[in-house]
């Protein structure tokens, strides 16, 4: 261990780094006080980089706990956050599943914990590649869930996450998910912001008193989480979490706006980011890195004269119901592409289910085409995405669905099976 560099100050710089390293830089920029970590592919290089930062004295005062499992990761982070510190961890797939019990606990305790997920497909069979089923399985935990679609957005969204989560009206934990390997292990230029600018953007670190609702302080002894009878306020505590999720939509939009005016990078309205939607006849919703590639597909088809657009879904929880209705209103046919599964649900894809549910009784009768693709890291090519748009155009013009639909959903890129 080297001595902490009290005067270490990050200056604004643009460097070519992996997505995981961008997540680590964001935690450093946010001056997190306690990190707890356990290695899992494809997240591991996040915590490796943080270890390097701490050992080099670039994160003075930060406690880095190297634990023996993901369950312990989240439990220790809950302990550290309860005691009134800003915390960070990162995980993937199986690791997230292993910490699942504590994931519920963090939200129930209303702790503003930020965690990055390099998303990875669930086993068996073993698969370590991109698939958002891991983070989407946390749908009902009370965590806010967002997707980063590129390397810069990983860094930016982690910073925005602390500002949203730590807001006293919110106080809910948050996941920032991005594709394992597709973003975690590829490199792109990322601008790391000036430390002073980040300090000014983020709320100050919690003071000695910790969070307003939860603290471990001998001067103010308090009991946390003891048994509550069915006649107690349990229902009301749950309603508050739901209510806060709804409130968070405005907060997310506000923070995205403030982020843009501070750092100059635009993320739509915070909840969704539209691309060439104004005159589009058909459009497609994506999340994660495939939303970026879809913009290229839209450009290519526009050159061929088709009026197509796309939407990047930034948030899964809270789900941007109103924005999705507005998007659907703009087009005649809307594709919803999932890189995740929701077995036995109406569409088989988690986000397409949400979209259909959002539109019910909205008065919008836009045709929805659920698409599932790229599970377990299977490549989704630009040509494939252009073809998806063409399917939507054809559906709009002729009313014809693709031939090989499976129970109302288009599973794109399946291997031929006898």
């Amino acid at each position: 261990m080297v001595e902490a560099q009290e005067d270490f100050i990050q200056e604004r710089e643009t460097i070519i780094i992996k997505g995981n390293v961008a997540a680590a830089y964001a935690a450093k920029s946010a001056r997190v006080q306690v990190i707890s970590a356990y290695p899992i592919t494809p997240q591991t290089t996040v915590v490796e980089k943080l270890s390097e930062f701490v050992d080099n004295g670039e994160m003075p005062g930060t406690e880095y706990i190297k634990v023996e499992s993901e369950h312990t990761v989240m439990a220790s982070i809950i302990g550290a956050s309860t005691a009134g510190t800003r915390t960070f961890t990162a995980t993937s797939g199986q690791g997230l599943f292993y910490m699942y019990e504590m994931v519920h606990w963090a939200a129930g305790a209303r702790l503003p914990i930020v965690t990055t997920i390099a998303s990875r497909a669930p086993a068996p069979p073993w698969n370590i590649w991109a698939d958002f089923t891991d983070v989407i399985s946390c749908r009902d935990t009370g965590w806010m869930i967002s997707f980063a679609a590129n390397h810069q957005e990983i860094y930016d969204d982690v910073l925005m996450s602390y500002k949203i989560s730590e807001d006293y009206d919110i106080l809910l934990p948050k996941f920032v998910a991005y594709g394992g390997f597709t973003l975690s292990h590829t490199s792109k230029p990322v601008t790391i912001e000036d430390q002073d600018a980040v300090d000014n953007f983020l709320p100050p670190l919690p003071d000695e008193r910790g969070w307003p609702h939860i603290f471990l302080d001998p001067e103010r002894p308090m009991m946390h989480g003891n048994l509550i009878m069915p006649s107690g306020f349990y229902n009301e505590f749950r309603l508050k979490i739901h209510h806060t999720m709804l409130l968070a939509k405005d907060k997310i939009k506000e923070v995205a706006k403030e982020f843009e005016s501070t750092f100059g990078r635009h993320y739509g309205n915070g909840l969704i980011q539209e691309y060439k939607m104004n005159d589009a006849d058909v459009a497609i919703i994506n999340y994660g890195e495939l939303a970026m590639q879809m913009e290229q597909a839209v450009d290519d088809l526009r050159e061929e004269g088709y009026k197509v657009g796309c939407v990047k879904l930034r948030y899964f929880r809270p789900f941007p119901v109103e924005d999705i209705i507005n998007v659907a209103r703009k087009v005649k046919v809307l594709g919803v592409a999932d890189r995740a599964t929701a077995f036995g649900s109406p569409t088989g894809g988690p986000v397409s289910c949400e979209v259909k549910s959002a539109l019910y009784n909205s008065g919008v009768s836009t045709q929805i085409l659920p698409i599932i693709m790229g599970l377990g890291g299977r490549e989704v090519t630009l040509e494939q995405q252009k073809n998806q748009l063409k399917i939507l155009i054809n559906l709009n013009e002729t009313g014809e669905f693709p031939k090989d639909m499976i129970d109302g959903t288009f599973w794109d890129g399946l291997l031929e099976v006898e």
Binding site: Q33, V34, S36, P60, G61, T62, E63, I65, K66, V67, E68, S69, H71, T72, A75, S76, I77, I78, G79, A80, S81, T82, A83, G84, T85, T87, E101, M102, W105, L205, E208, F215, L216, D217, P218, E219, P221, M222, M223, H224, G225, N226, L227, I228, M229, G232, F233
Partner: protein, 312 residues
């Protein structure tokens, strides 16, 4: 060692208050009350799922008047590790304040320690997290209605070992000592001053401290509540529960157990077992075998101590 009169006079402040909902004669209550007297107000407690979650009182009532955090079953040592790290991070930002003086304590039952919590506890010990981990061992899952744990002794009847447990009690203090942590101690609720001193010592040591307390449970053991001190005292007198400390790898027998190195000083095991309904199904053959196993344990501990003496 302080006298009981001295301890009660000097440490009058109570941290686990009257009005808690422990059963009459609860061993856990004695253990926590005396542990907190030793540790004092700058202590933050984490408790995983156990009787302690319930007996502190139903929300919004609460008996402990110190910071107290309930935790999931497997996560006692883990959460405490985080709390302890946060206190250190706070001490960095706010030097000279209470944060650098905080003690982080885990109070967990034998299920939460020897079964579901052992991975997290082993992790905390290996990385030497600055916590005191106390297992109050009533030798079964008493909170869920007396099911066997890996700390339930051979022969004990529980609701999941209706004929008496076949396997043997896991020796967790020795497993903890194998982690090379600075301090391991065993206590019994029948010896509150010994417990008091051991918690005081643990508080003064940096790193991971493990204290294992034999804590009687009248309904679980099938004993009258007025016997809840007498029975664990018999556990000590028969040598069935050995009081000792392991400091940096060196074992020392405590005052009440040391004379028992002489086998003639040990009361027969039957004196301890026969007073508890849970051992009602033990056979004569079992009893002989248990006494032999116990005697062997003493032979081992005796040779370990001799070996240490020869080295020093």
């Amino acid at each position: 060692m302080v006298s009981i009169k001295e301890a009660l006079e000097t440490y009058q402040e109570e941290f686990f208050l009257a009005g808690n909902s422990t059963c009459a004669g609860c061993g856990l209550e004695i253990a926590l009350r005396w542990a907190m007297k030793a540790l004092g107000p700058n202590t933050s407690l984490v408790t995983p799922a156990s009787c302690l979650n319930v007996v502190v009182g139903l929300w919004p009532k609460t008996a402990p008047n110190f910071p107290f955090m309930n935790m999931a079953f497997a996560a006692g040592a883990a959460a405490a590790t985080g709390v302890s790290a946060a206190f250190k991070a706070k001490a960095y930002r706010f030097p000279g304040k209470v944060w650098e003086k905080m003690t982080t304590l885990v109070f967990a039952g034998d299920g939460g320690t020897t079964d579901i919590g052992i991975q997290g506890l082993s992790g905390a010990a290996e990385r030497n997290s600055n916590i005191i981990y106390c297992c109050y061992d009533n030798e079964a899952y008493m909170n869920t209605g007396i099911q066997r744990s890996s700390s339930t002794p051979h022969g004990a009847v529980t609701t999941t070992t209706t004929l008496g447990k076949e396997r043997y009690k896991k020796n967790l203090p020795r497993i903890m000592a194998s982690h090379e942590i600075p301090y391991v101690a065993t206590c019994s609720v029948s010896e509150p001053l010994d417990l008091f001193e051991k918690f005081k010592k643990a508080k003064s040591i940096e790193g991971c401290k493990y204290i294992h307390v034999l804590a009687s449970c009248p309904p679980g053991w099938g004993i009258p509540s007025e016997d809840s001190v007498e029975i664990p005292r018999l556990a000590v007198k028969t040598g069935s529960w050995i009081l000792y400390e392991v400091e940096n790898g060196v074992i020392t027998l405590s005052k009440k157990s040391k004379p028992l190195l002489d086998p003639s000083k040990r009361a027969p095991l039957i004196d301890y077992l026969s007073r508890q309904k849970r051992f009602s199904k033990i056979s004569e053959k079992d009893l002989i075998e248990l006494q032999e196993r116990l005697d062997l344990q003493w032979v081992k501990i005796s040779s370990e101590i001799k070996c240490q003496e020869n080295l020093s």
